[in-house]
Amino acid sequence: MAEYSADTQPREVPPVAPDARGLRLRGLTLELGAKGAAKQILRGIDLDIPAGSITGLAGESGSGKTMTGLAICGLQPAGSRLGGTISYTGPRGSAPNLLALKPRAMNALRGREVAMIFQDPTASLHPMMTIEGQLTDGMRHHLKVSRTEARSRALALLERVKVPEPATALKKYPHQFSGGQLQRISIAIALSSEPSVLIADEPTTALDVTVQAGILRLLRELCDSLDLAVLLVTHDLGVMSALADTVTVMRYGEVVEHGTRYQVIREPRSEYTRALIDALPHPPAEEGSTPAPGALPPTPTRTDLR
């Protein structure tokens, strides 16, 4: 650990106003296991996820990046202990610390304010339920809408995420769709209760390279039009360099690098980030310090760091 912390200078975090909308993680820790032999998964994460931008969280498997996403949703594994604060400011209200919320309050907030999409849509959608059932479940619970109202909202959502023939799609089951379509449906489900924060955990990793670009473009478009605060968790620096506004690199449960996309990809401060970037088959194309929304690398690079 020492060698990384030694060369990570305290660095200028892109300024975010304290009352800006979004999520603000301060000193987030997570430990698992028995009290005596506990294992530190997260060792004090500071992270801002402001509304209207995509915050990238990169790192190897086991670096704690997925666990950070789960912890924000309160979905950390049973028997784990969290520390630090996660403060939330949204259009409908704010919470000084999500970790201090009672389970019932957290449940009400989850899905409603903070939604999540997962890596493999074939696994994260229930194989034995219709798309309509899964798409309307959340909004009927949170928004208390009627069945017919839920259906028309579901249709609009599917149109929004560009699933063809929404009316027939509602009646179908997950196994009747391709992976890319399923991920669009997952995004529709995540947006069904109109959240203001979206956590995307490796949203393109399980997909074919050809459909990845479409999903990423959709995320960008939704982020901009809905003023979403998006946390993009991925190990794929190619995806990261195409989409994220700011990039945070994690290793062993700690932040080793943080900055705008340009800073991190072009002038990495930490050895570790440099090693990750050097491991890419094609160095990511980078056109400027302020990325054009929806910009994608000319050749999609999918790098598995494992």
């Binding site: 650990m1 049973a78 028997g79």
Partner: protein, 337 residues
């Protein structure tokens, strides 16, 4: 790389772990298995703690047998096998001698009372271990061997062989075990040997099924194909490359089946289709209790004997299965809803 905080096992983190949760799971397991100083007994600090963990390392049991339930089960099994071996020295009286007043309730002389012929129930129950345990052992071993061989052959060769063997096992499966066994024993004539033969007929298919599905899975593995390319004959390949890799589940099944075998054997004897008088078989003794059912001790103790043996084998079988299949094991991180 800097020294990892969690000790030696941390290096596995980047090699194997797929997600943080798995990494931790690995490590929790390691800590338990290693019995490191940190988990030594309460207040076990300093010299006493060290010697305690050293002692534990010396008396090391396979992790499977270190759970309390498995230990209880194992002790009961060992106890019953000791009884079966040394019963002539343990049992207070001759199990067949009709030397007491008939139908005595438990008392100082006959702790478990006496039966309708004036025999000591305690002695008969203890001697019962000599009947049930070896027979159940023979039954389980034989059906495991027959079933596994047939299943392996069916799975490895496939096609017609597979069809024939599996259709046959389906037919056996279609019948309730005890009805089929009952018909067979009734046909062969009631005796313990015939009961074992009848149960053998009905118990091999479960092994055949497990074996077949595993061999089917293993057959296409690369190391098996590699062996075949090296010129191994089908039987060599089956013996060298496949069987060692699929033996463990069969062992678990056999352990769990042992309890079942005892239940079925005693069930048949209970129906009068197994042991013949005056054999002190547990099921037959319970059947005596049906005749005189106001005299509860006739049936209670042999029944208890069956129950303890079966529970013990099921406990050990469970522990073995859990250690093979971590999904059902206690150590997996629970999901909280």
């Amino acid at each position: 790389m800097a020294k990892p905080p969690g000790g030696a096992s941390d290096s596995r983190l980047e090699l194997e772990a797929d997600a943080a949760a798995t990494a931790v799971y690995d490590e929790v397991q390691d800590d338990r298995a290693g019995g490191s100083g940190g988990s030594a007994g309460p207040g076990g600090s300093g010299a006493s703690g060290v010697s305690f963990s050293a002692l534990r390392n010396r008396l090391r049991l396979p992790p499977t047998f270190r759970r309390p339930m498995a230990i209880i089960g194992m002790s009961i099994i060992v106890l019953w096998f000791l009884v079966a071996i040394f019963v002539p020295w343990i049992a207070p009286y001759d199990p067949l001698a009709q030397q007491f007043d008939r139908l005595q309730a438990p008392n100082a002389v006959n702790w478990f009372g006496t039966d309708s012929l004036g025999r000591d129930v305690l002695s008969r129950t203890l001697y019962g271990a000599r009947i049930s345990l070896p027979l159940a052992l023979i039954l389980v071993v034989a059906s495991a061997i027959i079933g596994s061989v047939l299943g392996a052959v069916a799975g490895y060769f496939g096609r017609a062989v597979d069809e024939i063997i599996m259709r046959f096992s389906d037919l056996v499966f279609a019948f309730p075990t005890i009805i089929l066994a009952m018909i067979v024993t009734a046909a062969l004539g009631p005796s313990l040997t015939n009961a074992v033969i009848a149960l053998l007929l009905v118990s091999w298919p479960s092994y055949a099924r497990v074996m077949r599905s595993m061999v089917l899975g293993a057959r296409s593995r690369e190391y098996v194909v590699a062996g075949r390319l090296l010129g191994f004959s089908p039987f060599t390949s089956l013996r060298r490359d496949i069987l060692p890799n699929v033996a463990a589940p069969v062992l678990v099944l056999a352990t769990l089946d042992f309890g079942n075998a005892i239940l079925l054997l005693s069930g048949l004897s209970f129906l009068g289709l197994g042991a013949t008088p005056p054999t002190p078989e547990w099921g037959a003794m319970v059947a005596d209790g049906v005749q005189q059912f106001s005299d509860w001790w006739l049936a209670a103790f042999p029944g208890l004997a069956i129950f303890t043996v079966v529970v013990a084998f099921n406990l050990v079988g469970d522990a073995l299965r859990d250690s093979l299949d971590p999904r059902t094991a206690g150590a997996v991180q629970g999901v909280k809803i």
